[in-house]
């Protein structure tokens, strides 16, 4: 147990007015300084590649989606947010998702999908805001999830840097 004794006030402090003046001087000085409050919705938060936002699907430079609907993220997802139905394509990579849904209300932004993906097709973007008028609108489908690779490049580079200890080269063709 610690006994905190009340501090004995000095004469100057007991006079009251000098301390008021000192306090007000700080207040007025701060008035002319740059404010530290951020006007959040208008002024977005600073983001960098470490920001683990909502997962997004990579669209490769040739315009095709990188996902092959292997189902690894679906299995890895601890919140059961992902549902994938695959289908056949005519491209050399024979498989692509016909339906890819992420229930953003279930998603906990843990990044397991990004970690599980063997094809570098899903990455955590820097998009964080999530609001809508209905639950159904927050189940994102393929069109809402697709992002060009360039938009996710910073995160992709970061993940590669992070995983470089055990992964040497890209598996995305």
């Amino acid at each position: 147990m610690v006994i905190v004794r009340r501090k004995e006030l000095s004469l100057r402090e007991r006079l009251y007015l000098p301390e008021i003046a000192r306090g007000l001087s700080i207040t007025f000085r701060k008035l002319f300084e740059k404010p530290i409050t951020r006007q959040y919705p208008e002024e977005p938060l600073p983001k960098n590649e470490v920001t683990r936002g909502q997962p997004r699907l990579v669209v490769k430079d040739d315009g095709n989606i990188a996902c092959v609907s292997c189902g690894m993220c679906e299995i890895a997802c601890p919140a059961y947010a992902i549902t994938i139905d695959g289908g056949e394509t005519d491209r050399p990579i024979e498989r692509e998702p016909k339906k890819f849904e992420i229930d953003m209300l279930r998603c906990i932004l843990c990044g397991f999908c990004e970690e599980a993906c063997p094809k570098d097709a899903i990455f955590m973007s820097d998009e964080l805001e999530l609001a809508d008028y209905s639950r159904a609108a927050l189940i994102y489908d393929l069109e809402k999830l697709k992002r060009p690779k360039s938009a996710l490049q910073k995160r992709i580079d970061y993940v590669y840097r992070l995983n470089n200890r055990w992964r040497k080269s890209s598996s995305t063709s």
């Binding site: 092959v68 292997c70 139905d85 063997p118």
Partner: protein, 481 residues
Amino acid sequence: MTKITVNGREIDADPKKPLIAACHENGIDVPMYCYHPGLRPVGSCRICQVEVKQGDAPARVVASCRTPVAEGMVVNTDSPKAHDVRRECLEFLLKNHPLDCPICDKAGECDLQDYSFAEGQTKGRTHEPRRKLEKRKSLGDVIVLDEERCILCSRCVRFFEDVTKKPQLTVADLGSRSVISTFLDKPLKGNYQGNIADICPVGALTLTRFRFQARVWNLSKHLSTCAECSRGCSVTAEVLRGGDTKRFRPRFNPKVNQWWMCDTGRFAFSHVNAADRAVALRRTAEGLEACDLDAALSAAANTLRGKSNVAVVLSPFSTNEEAAAAKALAARLGAKTCFVSPAPNALKDDFLHTGDPCPNRRGLTDLGFAGLAAADVAGALAGAGAVVLAGERVVELLGAERVAALTGTRAVLFDTHCVDAPALDACIGVPVHVEKDGHWTNVEGRAGRLTIARSAPRGVRALDLNLKRLSELVSPAGAKA
């Protein structure tokens, strides 16, 4: 029986079977690709090699699928030498096998994937490029061959040679150019092509209708019985996320179908996956209207109560349990009973398909139901006071127009889908055969089990329960009608 020692354990082995079968029957795991218990062993993949010591000779590593068991054999499946040899074989098998498991349809049920994972081969030592071959070679309507994935185990070749006895496939070309091919590149024929996709140990042979449809670990597997003929092959119904049945696969049953089934049964899911299922409807002034189950059942009871000359018509897909409930109902009503018996189809062959599209003909006949052709049933119904049509697809088999044309009688229907018939007073939904528990008796008198692979639509109750409830409503227990 021959006594051998495997991994220090003494086991009794069947001298007619190879060593690998003795190991598997005693729960000792030996990997295999080319060996299949239903096919002649050839020893082409060499992955089943184990160390065998016989007498005073030094221990040798042999392919266990081609080695007959011999008295006093001492086998070690786990010795470092056996593992080394198997790992080297695996390296050769993986030399040309593409490592694109995320794309491959077999992933999750692939022997090659499992064993590569178990052996932990993460790197190959080869520097040569992999073989570039055809990725989508169509072998007819049922099968697509991916030549790059093929490890040339020749199970598919032997299936047509040993099981259907009509050879259709062969290993064409020599050495590193070997590929599986049909004779003269003709498409595959016959009703048993789908089996080669099942026995393919890798993802080389895939079913056109299942290809890339679902990941196998998302399918819940439930034992069931094939509905397509009276053979009643034991199958596994595989359901994707509690919704559509994605495939039927044969389930080993030594007495009925062994490891095989026909393509007709394999792809018979268009009916079980049909949408817009009826739940409960009853006739009001405006016509048939949806209502709750109890209301529909009491409407049905009102139709039947006090009527004489009632007929109870079952679908050939009714289980023995449903037929027993229908029989009890018929006894209360003093009704005639029969089941709709479609004509034999041309699919009959000398292997599995019996050509008789009634999976439970034997069971229904044993319970005293007579099988009548649709036209004869319609004739019998014409003069009836009231009619109970019960079982999945009963309207389809009877002909919707025949049901719609019923006059001078009132009808109660238990089916998956309703039909617009003026005679209909109530229509109550029934589960399809992958949604119910029960038994079918096959042509040889063997019971085939059905289990609930997925739940029926909300509000649909088992037909036997509904029939029991209906007989209670028609004449309360104790009172004879």
